[in-house]
Symmetry: D3
Amino acid sequence: MNISARNCLKGTIKSITRGPIMAEIVLDIGNGVQVTSVITAKAADNLGLKEGKEAYAVMKSTEVMIAVD
Amino acid sequence: MNISARNCLKGTIKSITRGPIMAEIVLDIGNGVQVTSVITAKAADNLGLKEGKEAYAVMKSTEVMIAVD
Amino acid sequence: MNISARNCLKGTIKSITRGPIMAEIVLDIGNGVQVTSVITAKAADNLGLKEGKEAYAVMKSTEVMIAVD
Amino acid sequence: MNISARNCLKGTIKSITRGPIMAEIVLDIGNGVQVTSVITAKAADNLGLKEGKEAYAVMKSTEVMIAVD
Amino acid sequence: MNISARNCLKGTIKSITRGPIMAEIVLDIGNGVQVTSVITAKAADNLGLKEGKEAYAVMKSTEVMIAVD
Amino acid sequence: MNISARNCLKGTIKSITRGPIMAEIVLDIGNGVQVTSVITAKAADNLGLKEGKEAYAVMKSTEVMIAVD
């Protein structure tokens, strides 16, 4: 399945913290950079996420803000 | 100013395409990886974005989805 | 690729309206119900969207609000 | 009150799972299709949501992604 | 219709700028404070928005970030 | 750091409710108006949020809907 979301960053799951409804996933995308994602706990279960497994951070372009120093 | 959005990826502005309301910004974040952002054209003007300039892609963790192969 | 977004509604593309940056896609999901999506024009091109083609509306659960009469 | 969000799907509340901050609402929108929503637990209380009650899933068009097989 | 979005700020429409797909609405919410909204141009038409008219800025709580100096 | 998000409302933190993953922050922005934000609990910790402290509610314009009576 191809999706309209235009950003996809490959990484390795570093940690998974489950709450009752939401779960926080930290992805290591290389060069010491981490991306934090909050998805539903059920989605984390459905995807079979596990520490050390490969995964992608996917973001719609309208959700990416730009900042400058 | 510190903000609650937890993801901040440093990059270089590769292209800016302006529409009447929105603008599309492509950021090169290194290793051949690009991040596409759509912000308002006025925000692009206010920030003084220019090709080749350093900028950051900022994403709230609830806007980062996870995908697996 | 499996994604954490938990909502996926199958439909047929009824119309595509392209602007310079964004495109509006109307999906007929059956029973006379339509879903309107706004994605980047480039994403619409990359996906090869065409009127009459099958497609899915995909929504993260945190983006679905609930209303009552 | 009329709102700019352009998508509104009528359904019946199938389940409500409350966490301390967020609540997950599953809506049956007919034909065996379900829509999952995550809203704040307080919003679920304020709206008086109950299983079996009619409700609407409301989504802004910029939050609806498009996918194709 | 009551909605789960928990933030609603009353204001007066100060300006409307229409693009082909999106429209930018500036709302004056009093005390010299303005709120900028980008919605679809069709939603702006459907709501009959006009400069000087009363309107509300509505935001889901998960879309409100917090910043500190 | 300047950011593309165009809305920034100054206020005072009225309450903080922490869940395991998310935290709900209520901001008093004056004139009896409150804004509710849900951010990650870790972001609330990192920002050092405390009741009575000054803070800003920051919203991207594409996340601000418009409603009329």
